[in-house]
């Protein structure tokens, strides 16, 4: 009997507590920048696409919801011809972001992606690409990696010596 009264009392007292829930969508909760929501494709500081179509995100994805098709421009730079994410399968685990060697793919604090038609959850490259660098300012993969691409010749990347002269015998 006592315990029943105690329970009723506690329930009553909760009525006067501060609410933990907020009235979404009128009131938006704070989400930290590293929250794992909608996936975007970022650009490098020069404004070029960061994604090099290496397919590591797609292989890291546990639900196989990323499909990337590689293409190459005339200067030898790799880029994705197709970059498709099926968000109706995505579990927002962030493995793709972790796998990405160029910081191209990033998860953002946006989760408002509901659709009435599942087909609309399929995002193509044009839907995913944003104009900025996202969470990783300053990084440019092609400035670090050794391949020559348009605007960066051999030996011009970070920590690279000038290309060797095969004909020299000097030490």
């Amino acid at each position: 009997m006592l315990s029943v009264l105690r329970t009723i009392w506690m329930t009553l007292m909760h009525t006067f507590r501060k609410r933990d829930t907020v009235l979404y969508p009128e009131e938006k909760p704070y989400l930290p920048p590293r929250y794992r929501g909608r996936i975007v494709l970022t650009r490098d500081p020069d404004g070029a696409e960061r994604c090099v179509a290496c397919n590591l995100c797609s292989v890291a994805c546990p639900v196989d919801c990323i499909s990337v098709v590689k293409a190459e421009d005339e200067s030898g730079r790799w880029y994705p011809e197709t970059f498709r994410i099926n968000f109706s399968r995505c579990i927002y685990c962030g493995y793709c972001e972790e796998a990405c060697p160029t910081y191209a793919i990033q998860l953002t604090p946006d989760f408002e992606m509901g659709e009435f038609d599942r087909q609309n959850m399929v995002y193509e490259k044009s839907d995913l690409t944003i104009a900025g660098v996202g969470k990783r300012p300053g990084y440019n993969f092609y400035r670090v990696a050794g391949m020559a691409v348009g605007g960066k010749d051999k030996g011009e990347a970070e920590n690279e010596a000038a290309p060797i002269d095969v004909k020299t015998l000097l030490p």
């Binding site: 090099v52 290496c54 397919n55 590591l56 797609s58 292989v59 994805c61 639900v63 196989d64 919801c65 990323i66 499909s67 990337v68 098709v69 590689k70 190459e72 790799w78 498709r84 994410i85 099926n86 109706s88 399968r89 060697p101 160029t102 599942r118 087909q119 959850m121 399929v122 193509e124 993969f141 670090v144 990696a145 050794g146 391949m147 020559a148 051999k154 030996g155 990347a157 920590n159 690279e160 010596a161 000038a162 290309p163 060797i164 002269d165 095969v166 004909k167 020299t168 015998l169 030490p171």
Partner: protein, 894 residues
């Protein structure tokens, strides 16, 4: 045999092997770079360091290189030893100092030996922060991409290219830390085996350019066990595809045929599968004369009336199509109306080759056996252009002398550098009686440039020299006699002599002569071998199926015995003079063609049914040694494109004669029942119902990605994986994957920790570089005939006057690969070739046009001088780059 201990475990091993090979064979993970099962040890990269102990009580030990350490009896080793592991991690850190870390944009990524070894040694964090060395790349032509920055200077490429394939235009340039692996100038590699660099290079310096053009990672490929369709040797391949596009051809290890290497035609010649101009819909000739696409049902019903109203059917098969496709056509038209699809001379030569192979069925060495033959006599074959992979094996055969000398000097066979130094320029004898200079001349002991009949004459003379009871050709000159004497002496002296002959010259006499040489050799040797090359992937199978050729078929049409021509995967204009083909097509009321590529025959056809290429069909091919091998569908083509035999089954049903073979198993049973010569093809691969642990066998590696997004733009609901009704393979990554899966159903090679094709296969072999576990796939159909054959009379029909002889080219002479864009870039110009005296006699200079009448048809081509040709001989380029449908050799009057 020897007993050694590795990490406390005892093993029985072969003491003529080195420790690295032994350790890998026993399943240890020991990293290595410069070593390769076929290139052996040089001890250059220092990566395979292990601890060697004096005896079991020794706790100190010393670090040695496993690849340079004999696995001698009583040896005590440790791979896991901390000091040895640290050493290996240090070595890879040095090797990686200048590596550009561009794996994300490297085609090798995911199947890279360097990635594997880096992980295996545990070197996962870069410490070096200084500047990296860089290199400029070279343009290496349409096959291979060059990215020199990735080089770790293991020297594998030059050791393969120069020491194994005998190429001379890939070099180590520069000095000290500046070494550069490339050519002196931009340009395609000269060697016909350059494509193997892609797999031999442990990192991404040399990558497949044809793959790069539509790249995806190894783990994203849908593969199938394939058989190369570009020559008669039947090398095993692993074609990879994604989303219905054939991406690349990779080597598939076969311990008795191609083992680790393919030729460039096999590797880069499959591009025809992706061509836009392929027929992919049934086509019907409309009233305005244009081929127009039509629905499958409509065309089947119109073909129903065509076949019903036909006065008689003629079915022309094809030596480039599978037994199944040919048999299905044979069934449709009736066995009496089926023709083997080869030209007259080609068919006669193939039948002669078949007879020869049957006579010597017990002494047919495999391609791998060829490498251990120590004296070779080639009659008439320009092997590099005709059966390219054989040339690479012959190059190893001539080096047997190195091994003999090395053995005498107590040098182990795996000590590559020392064996080479000991062998120097001493080679096992290779005699080549060929019409003109070949790409194998550099290793030949002696060359005899003769016309086909004279080659036969020399062959007969050699036989007579070897065995007195063999007939000697009449009136041979002293020169021929002397040559024959030289060859006979060398063959007699050898332990394992080999005779190579084939159908390339279209001369039966050469094959007969080869038969006599072989018979004579059998009387002196127990270990003599005969190797016969044929024109196409299934030439031998077709010779076994039917002895009637295209000429007979045309005769049936033009004599009005039949009025409907059904052609299976064949271009008639490759098989006969164009006038004759035109006449036959004109005489036929209807021409029905089933093919996968656009051909001149399709351009004349009334009905075209799109048949599957090797990538879109299952089938069996019989290679030059009579080995039936199964290839499997790589991807399911978009309907209505389907297998040639399925079209035949549909046509059979349409005309009210439904067949009981609706799947591969039933079809193979039907072939075995109807054609006893093919009994055994069933065992070439496990049947459709075969399962291991209740599972099928996967076509794709287990991390095949993007499944739920690949087609999401079309429909967000995923398709069910297709079920393969024709084989025990699955169209997904699901199924049984293990080192004990049947080798005939191994679509790709991968084992944990070993992603690169050439290294992963180790786990599937009984010992490194040996046979596949479970036996190398394929069934040899030729049965040993206990009767000792008689000598054939030595009567070569010598031809006086001018003669046109065929000249082949690796890129161009084979019709399917000639449609591949990469091969087309390497196709040579078409020239008539003749020697200086001949050019002078005809009043021609180089580049002048020669008009030549062959079989009543005039062909005009520019002339080039080849001093190696015999007098009054004109070399005619045959194939897509030259002339098609010419019958050679032929007497001509220029």
């Amino acid at each position: 045999m020897a007993t050694i201990k590795i990490d406390g475990k005892q093993f029985e091993v072969d003491d003529t092997d080195n420790l690295l090979k032994v350790a890998l064979s026993k399943g240890f993970d020991l990293p290595y770079f410069c070593w390769h099962p076929e290139l052996h040890s040089v001890g250059a990269c220092r990566q395979c360091a292990v601890k060697q102990y004096k005896n079991e009580d020794d706790t100190e030990g010393q670090i040695v290189m496993a690849c340079m350490t004999p696995a001698s009896d009583g040896g005590c080793f440790s791979i896991a030893d901390q000091e040895a592991s640290d050493f290996r991690a240090q070595v890879i850190e040095w090797l990686m100092i200048n590596h550009p870390h561009d794996c994300p944009v490297c085609e090798e990524g995911g199947e890279c030996h360097l990635q594997d070894m880096t992980l295996m040694t545990g070197h996962t964090r870069r410490r070096y922060r200084g500047p990296k060395r860089t290199h400029r790349n070279q343009d290496l032509g349409p096959f291979i991409n060059h990215e020199m920055n990735r080089c770790i200077a293991c020297y594998r490429c030059v050791r393969y290219y120069r020491d194994y394939a005998d190429g001379d235009d890939l070099r180590v340039l520069g000095s000290h830390s500046n070494v550069y692996f490339g050519r002196e100038a931009d340009g395609a590699f000269n060697s016909e085996f350059s494509g193997n660099l892609v797999e031999v290079c442990p990192t991404g310096v040399f990558t497949d350019k044809t793959l790069g053009a539509h790249y995806n990672r190894k783990w994203d490929m849908q593969n199938a066990p394939g058989i190369c369709t570009h020559c008669s040797l039947g090398c095993n391949t692993s074609p990879g595809s994604r989303q219905g596009i054939l991406k690349r051809i990779q080597n598939r290890y076969h311990g008795e045929i191609n083992h680790y290497f393919l030729c460039d035609r096999g590797r880069f010649g499959a591009g025809f599968v992706n061509r836009e101009d392929r027929p992919r819909q049934p086509l019907v000739r409309a009233d305005n004369g244009v081929l127009e696409p039509q629905d499958m049902d409509v065309i089947l019903s119109s073909l129903k009336s065509v076949l019903a109203e036909a006065k008689g059917l003629v079915g022309i098969g094809s030596p480039r199509a599978s037994l199944e496709d040919n048999f299905a056509l044979r069934h449709l038209v009736g066995a009496n109306n089926f023709y083997n699809g080869m030209s007259g001379p080609e068919s006669h030569a193939s039948l002669a080759a078949l007879a020869l192979l049957q006579e010597h069925a017990g002494r047919l060495p495999t391609l791998r056996d060829v490498e251990s033959c120590d004296a070779v006599f080639v009659l008439g074959e320009d092997v590099t252009q005709f059966a390219p992979r054989l040339a690479l094996s012959l190059r190893q055969a001539v080096r047997n002398e190195h091994h003999v000398l090395a053995e005498a000097a107590n040098i182990p066979k795996w000590h590559a550098r020392a064996v080479r130094d000991e062998g120097q320029h001493f080679y096992s004898p290779l005699f080549m009686a060929v019409p003109a200079a070949t790409r194998l001349d550099d290793v030949a002991t002696e060359l005899f440039h003769l016309r086909p009949a004279r080659i036969a004459e020399l062959g007969f003379a050699v036989a007579a020299m070897l065995d007195d009871t063999a007939p000697m050709p009449a009136n041979i000159d002293d020169e021929t006699r002397a040559h024959a004497e030289t060859i006979a002496t060398a063959l007699r002296k050898a332990k394992k002599p080999l005779v190579v002959a084939g159908t390339s010259l279209g001369s039966e006499a050469v094959l007969t002569a080869a038969g006599n040489v072989m018979r004579a050799l059998e009387s002196v040797h127990d270990d003599a071998g005969l190797f016969v090359t044929l024109n196409e992937a299934n030439s031998l199978g077709m010779a076994m199926m039917s002895d009637r050729d295209v000429d007979h078929a045309f005769e049936a049409i033009t004599s009005r015995r039949a009025d409907t021509l059904v052609v299976m995967q064949n271009d008639l204009y490759e098989r006969a003079q164009h006038g004759k083909v035109d006449a036959a097509i004109k005489a036929a009321k209807n021409l029905i063609v089933l093919d996968h590529s656009m051909t001149a025959t399709i351009a004349k056809a009334d009905y075209v049914l799109p048949a599957g290429s090797f990538a879109e069909a299952d089938g069996t091919l019989v290679n030059n040694e009579g080995r039936a091998q199964r290839f499997f569908q790589v991807f399911i083509p978009e309907a209505p494109l389907q297998e040639g035999w399925r079209w035949c089954a549909d046509l059979n049903s349409a005309i009210g004669k439904p067949v009981d073979w609706l799947g591969m198993d039933d079809l193979i049973d039907a072939i075995e029942a109807a054609c006893p010569q093919f009994v055994g093809i069933k065992s070439a691969a496990p049947s459709t119902s075969f399962r291991k642990a209740g599972m099928r066998f996967p076509r794709s590696p287990h991390r095949y990605s993007g499944r739920t997004a690949l087609y999401a733009n079309v429909d967000v609901r995923e398709k069910r994986p297709e079920v393969d009704v024709d084989s025990a393979l699955s169209y997904s990554m699901e199924g049984y994957h293990g080192t004990d899966q049947p080798p005939a159903l191994m679509a790709y090679a991968w084992t944990p920790g070993w992603d690169s094709n050439q290294a992963a296969i180790t786990r599937f072999q009984d010992e490194v570089g040996g046979h596949l576990k479970g036996g190398d796939p394929g069934t040899r159909l030729l049965k040993v005939d206990p009767n000792v054959p008689e000598y054939a009379p030595a009567e070569p029909k010598l031809v006086q006057g001018w003669q046109a002889i065929p000249r082949y080219h690796i890129f161009g002479s084979e019709s399917q690969s000639a449609k591949a864009p990469a091969i087309q870039e390497r196709m040579p110009r078409a020239w008539f070739t003749l020697n200086e005296a001949g050019a002078k006699a005809l009043g021609l200079a180089a580049a002048d046009t020669l008009r030549l009448t062959i079989d009543g048809e005039i062909h005009a081509l520019p002339v080039t001088i080849d001093p190696s040709l015999p007098d009054k001989t004109i070399g005619v380029p045959v194939g897509a780059h030259g002339l098609m449908g010419v019958r050679l050799p032929a007497a001509v009057s220029p």
